[in-house]
């Protein structure tokens, strides 16, 4: 089954200026994410990838600008409106951010407990099915500290999907994983995008992942304080007018060597 990307944007980022304290990290960032696509935010260390993500999910408030999720502005939303937006998204944090005092099953059941009236048995069943989606059957009653880093990330993805969000935000999914585990995670992402039609917004700098999963990429730059390139990975590799972006996608260093 091939993936369906609709031409209708599900996220619209408009003229966002953001940073910490008095420091502006990027200015006038605007882009759209289409429903059903796997959208990758790329850039070197310190260019504000994670900051951009945190502004998109409403964790930080941008200095100015708007982030619309499914037509609603998350920057200005409060109370019930904000909750309605948050229900549409799921977030997987860099280290998983699973609650250490709960088992994996309890972690996934938590949002259901809080936001639905499902009976306990139904919650168990749904939570187990989410674990199965990320190939973690049999780990229901383990605690986060008892499983490996790669499993923890997949469990975090399962938790992010607990309420069947339309958009999943992943912060550096392959950070700290070995290449094989990382590739497995990529497979999971592609499969979920294809079968469930979930829109993914992923912050990463793992080139192998990008070629495999990304429909579209934006590249942020620290010096320019904003987006320097947008397109598919192949477009950016072959046709980007900025030389270092082309080199990045070919894995070349400035002196022309190909990095391993």
């Amino acid at each position: 089954m091939s993936k369906r990307i609709e031409q209708e944007p599900i996220i619209r980022v408009e003229d966002v200026v953001a940073g910490y304290g008095d420091v502006t990290i990027f200015e006038n960032v605007s882009f759209e994410v289409l429903r059903g696509e796997v959208f990758v935010i790329l850039g070197g260390s310190g260019c504000g990838k994670s900051t951009l993500l945190k502004n998109m999910i409403g964790l930080y408030r941008p200095f100015s600008g708007h982030v619309e999720i499914d037509g609603e502005d998350i920057v200005s939303a409060e109370g019930a409106a904000r909750l309605r937006i948050l229900r549409k998204i799921g977030v997987m944090y860099q280290q998983g951010a699973l609650f250490g005092s709960m088992t994996l099953l309890e972690n996934i059941e938590l949002p259901m407990e809080e936001f639905t009236d499902l009976p306990r048995e139904a919650m168990h069943r749904i939570a187990s099915s989410k674990l199965k989606l990320v190939q973690l059957e049999g780990t229901e009653h383990r605690f986060p500290a008892e499983i490996s880093g790669g499993m923890r990330k997949r469990a975090a993805m399962a938790r992010a999907m607990a309420l069947d969000p339309e958009i999943l935000f992943l912060d550096e999914p392959s950070a700290g994983l070995d290449p094989i585990t990382s590739a497995e995670l990529d497979d999971t992402i592609s499969r979920l995008a294809r079968t469930l039609g979930i829109t993914f917004v992923i912050v990463t700098h793992e080139l192998a992942s990008i070629y495999k999963i990304a429909d579209r990429v934006i590249m942020l730059d620290k010096e320019k304080k904003g987006i320097v390139a947008t397109g598919t990975p192949v477009e950016l590799r072959d046709h980007c007018e900025i030389a270092w972006v082309r080199r990045f996608f070919r894995r070349e260093t400035a002196s022309g060597e190909v990095a391993a």
């Binding site: 998204i89 944090y93 951010a97 936001f115």
Partner: protein
Amino acid sequence: MTTATSSRRGAVLRTTTSERGDRVLELEGRLDASSTARLWRDAMAAARAAGDRPLIVEAGAVDYCDGAGAALLAAIEEAAEQGGGRFELRGLREDLRELVALVAPSRQEVAPPPPPPSFIVRLGRSGIQTGRDLHRLVSFTGEAVIALASVIRHPRRLRMRDTVAIAERAGLGAMPIVVGVGFLLGLILAFQGAIPMKRFAAEIFVADLLGLSMLRELGPLMAAILLTARSGSAFAAEIGTMKVNEEIDALTTMGLEPVRFLVVPRVLAAMAVVPALATATSLSGLLGGLLVYRSLGFPTVTFINRIVDMVEPFDVIGGLLKAMVFGILVAGVGCLRGIETGHGAQAVGLSTTSAVVSGIVAIAVADGLFAAMFYVLGI
């Protein structure tokens, strides 16, 4: 003229002056961290002594050179340049030459560090910081009160399981230490009280002293201080670690307010257990006092009668009320410090420490206010 410095691990420095008057430093052997350390002073002294005469370093016999050796060569070159003389490095192997080039100081001007801010600037900044802290304190208190009110209106929104678990840890878990400390406190207080009272043959009133001070003041105070040490710090560390692990962010993006989720159960649990802990402290204190009282030759019944006579119901109720307020303060401060945690393991340590310190300060201030209030109300 020739002077030589040699280092035990095989590096030799010879300083000579050539016929033309050039200063020559001959280096030989292994230039690693330990041998360079021994040569450094002499080599630099010789380089500076060259002044504006040409300085030549003969390094043909250097067979190994690491970062320290390269740094020495770079430092000699810099000294020669400052002296104003010509510098020449001769005979160094090509591979080592590359290493030295890597270490050589860059010719760019290094910007001086920014001057430290003036007193006025620092005063202003600390003022702004205090203002922000105050703002956070007020908004946190407000959020906590709103969350508490919403839990009272919709009891189903309370995380009952968490609250009970926390109450068990903070309450039952603290019982042994609270009983132990209370017992010793009663024992000591009775002993210390008996000494001056004996002079007036008034030892019988030790019971009055003990009953009033334990039930009204020391029981609640001691229980609250022990709660700060055991649980206030634990709350700050738990929540702080959750903050560092992005778990707080995860809660927020799930639409679960961290205050309702983490702070309300802790505050309610503390509020519920401190009166019980205070009662346990007071009773075990009285038990300790009773031991001393009996050793002074009075029967148990006298002890009980005197206390029942002396202590008014409001002394007990007031003590418990105080204990409850202390519990709210300790838990609230612990949670606030946890939520304020910055990044990294050190930040968790800092917030734990500050939870205990501010917890105890809050208890002292509240106790003072209670004393004044009870005095004004005449109770």
